[in-house]
């Protein structure tokens, strides 16, 4: 298992490791849904013939063929850990050989889905930060082998000389847990994750598969008929009186709320159960998940900025979340690395400090934006709305009074802009840039000035007239835009940041220490 040849110029069939054979079974089981159509085709094909025994034979044949090709694929798959790269060779007819230099490997992630976890296997992904997600995946190897590979690549990347035998380190000795969530914390997070998404999903499913249902899903008369069969009729409903209606409405509302909370709690438990963030010499390591365990490492030097988020309700309880901005993608849904989904500010600043980002200490002198910026935005809403109202009155001969209703929109927009203006703050101190925005999803972004890639000052035609400008910072993996600054302030901030940035090369800040 641990052989490392000196000059692996080419992987041959004798070289390299095979994946774990049990992975075949996992792939077979998880691939069953894809076999649905071949199976259906087989069954329908066999139905025409007279022999009823043909159907099970056809099903068995489809399954056997699938298993056979999976086995062929497994036989033809080899990976090899070389001196400079990982090589993967695969393909039954079309052979592909991929080489991934250690230099380019950003991270190694280990994932254990439910089935794999029961069999002690895991999926190893080598992430290179290339645009296309499919870099190289080993599906599946034993957890031990996965940990060995990760330790090996980390060691290689750090430029250490690796002995022939790398110790199986499931847990680096220097790891220190800096944040963890117990079940109670996960439960609280679940409550805040109230979601009615299940109705959208059920509705979508009903629409997709309504041909499978024995009745029209959207046929309300039929639902009413079903209710009547079980003794509830429209007439009895009408007979219950106003109090009864209220009770029924209240019941419906409560169950909706209940389902919303239940969805949130279940989803959160699935994702965040056993959340643990540890700090190792290489960076942060996060483990979480109930059935699907994920284990993702973020090297400290790749953290480009910190995002602290909260909402109006959870803020009262002092709960915030912390994410790190970086070029690597955490998952499909989350572009930033979630370092703490629900934490107090004390816990949170401790984590960000470990990433080299300090908490605001009062030096940053957070400033408000020029109110004029929001006033201009409001005025930009007025002409289109007036034109729309005018067009309605003139061309559609609509009566004037109801058409004025859209003008209420102006008031709503004004309120939203007012809230936005009240929350918005920007500032900088010697080392970092600060930006706070959002009255519902309140977000504070902190970026070290050294990680800024470029700075742009922009002015639209209106802002220009009033001497206002926006300041856009290019950050790897994120954006940071200050708005509503006087032009001179924008220029001063840019000059200060550029003095810091230009003095240090990018390659220097991107090295691990």
């Amino acid at each position: 298992m641990n052989e490392i040849s000196d000059a692996p110029t080419e992987v041959t069939a004798q070289h390299g490791e095979r994946l774990h054979i049990s992975g075949l079974f996992i792939g077979f089981v998880s691939g069953l849904p894809q076999l649905l159509f071949p199976l259906l085709a087989a069954v329908f094909g066999a139905r025409k013939s007279d022999n009823p025994a043909l159907i099970p034979i056809m099903i068995a044949a489809v399954l056997a063929i699938s298993l056979f090709f999976r086995w062929l694929g497994w036989r033809r798959f080899r990976y090899h850990v070389g001196a400079d790269d990982i090589r993967v060779e695969k393909g039954i007819l079309n052979r592909t050989a991929r080489s991934i230099p250690y230099d380019r490997i950003q991270d190694v992630s280990i994932e254990q889905k439910l089935l794999a976890r029961m069999m002690g296997l895991s999926e190893v992904k080598f992430e290179t930060g290339g645009g296309d997600g499919d870099d190289a995946t080993l599906r599946f190897v034993t957890l031990e082998e996965a940990n060995r590979l990760r330790a090996l690549i980390r060691a290689r990347k750090a430029g250490e000389v690796v002995a022939q035998d790398v110790p199986h380190m499931a847990e680096p000795a220097d790891a220190e847990t800096i944040f963890a969530m117990d079940d109670q914390r996960v439960f609280i997070l679940g409550i805040y994750s109230f979601s009615l998404v299940i109705f959208a999903v059920l509705g979508g499913l009903a629409q997709q598969f309504d041909f499978l249902l024995p009745f029209e899903f959207w046929d309300f008369k039929r639902w009413a008929g079903l209710a009547e069969e079980s003794g509830v009729s429209v007439n009895t409903l009408n007979g219950v009186g106003i109090t009864g209606h209220l009770i029924l409405a209240f019941g419906a509302f409560t169950s909706l709320i209940f389902i919303g909370f239940a969805t949130g709690i279940v989803r959160t438990f699935l994702r965040e159960y056993g959340f643990r963030l540890t700090q190792t010499t290489k960076g942060f390591r996060r483990q979480r998940g109930l059935f699907t365990l994920t284990d993702v490492v973020m090297p400290t030097h790749r953290v480009q900025a910190a995002v602290v988020q909260t909402g109006p309700i959870r803020k009262r309880r002092g709960w915030h979340s912390l994410k790190f901005v970086s070029l690597a993608q955490d998952s499909k849904e989350e572009s930033n690395y979630v370092a703490a989904p629900l934490a107090t500010l004390d816990e949170l600043w401790r984590i960000s400090k470990a990433a080299g980002i300090a908490a605001p200490d009062g030096d940053e002198r957070l400033r408000k934006g020029a109110a004029l910026h929001w006033v201009i935005q409001w005025f930009l809403f007025v002409p289109p709305l007036l034109i729309a109202v005018g067009a309605l009155v003139i061309f559609a001969h609509a009566p004037l009074a109801p058409t004025l209703l859209p003008l209420l929109l102006l008031i709503i927009v004004a309120l939203l802009l007012l809230l936005d203006w009240r929350r918005y703050r920007f500032g900088l101190d010697d080392q970092q840039i600060y930006l706070r925005r959002g009255w519902w999803r309140q977000k504070l972004t902190i970026a070290p000035q050294l990680k800024v890639q470029s700075v742009e000052i922009t002015q639209g035609p209106f802002a220009r007239r009033y001497g206002l400008a926006s300041l856009k910072f290019g950050i790897a993996g994120g954006t940071l835009e200050m708005v509503a600054l006087p032009l001179s302030t924008a220029q001063a901030i840019r000059a200060a940041v550029m003095e810091k940035v230009a003095a240090v090369a990018y390659s220097a800040i991107n090295q691990s220490h």
Partner: protein, 157 residues
């Protein structure tokens, strides 16, 4: 739009006016042809398509490039590149050499006739991941590229 503590901007090569006139004129030609076809169909009194179209065409293809040229500018510092452009939508970008990932020098067919080139620098940032500076004399663009490369290499040492 210059503030006091920033150095004067270098204008682009004047040939940029010509090349962008040619490029705009070619790009808008289909519209003129379209107007000519409509004119030929005699839907409205003669000249009601072609005359306004030609006026707009002349303005966009002749006057606008000269104005655009006046609002472009750059400053090549010892450790940073500054690119300024636009009047209605003004933008003023600074990229430190230390953050440049790679550099392109492009030359289109029109550019080549007039000895111009476009310099593009790439950064790792999501915003402004590319900053382009068109209308440079080709030799000048190459010299700038070499200067930036030298600056980056020096930083690496």
């Amino acid at each position: 739009m210059n503030d006091d503590n920033l150095p004067e901007l270098t204008p682009l090569d004047p040939a940029f006016i010509t090349t962008s006139r040619i490029a705009t004129a070619l790009g808008l030609l289909p519209f003129v042809i379209g107007a000519g076809v409509l004119e030929f169909a005699r839907l409205l009194p003669p000249g009601s398509f072609l005359v306004p179209m030609l006026l707009i065409y002349g303005f966009v293809a002749y006057t606008v490039p000269a104005r655009k040229y006046r609002h472009w500018g750059y400053d090549m510092g010892t450790d940073r590149l500054r690119v300024v452009r636009g009047y209605m939508f003004y933008s003023d970008t600074i990229v430190p050499f230390g953050r440049i990932q790679h550099i392109d020098v492009d030359q289109g067919p029109i550019d080549r006739r007039y000895g111009l080139a476009k310099l593009t620098v790439h950064t790792a940032g999501n915003h402004n991941s590319t900053v382009a500076l068109p209308g440079l004399a080709h030799t000048n663009a190459l010299a700038m590229r070499e200067a930036i490369r030298a600056a980056i290499r020096q930083e690496m040492l």
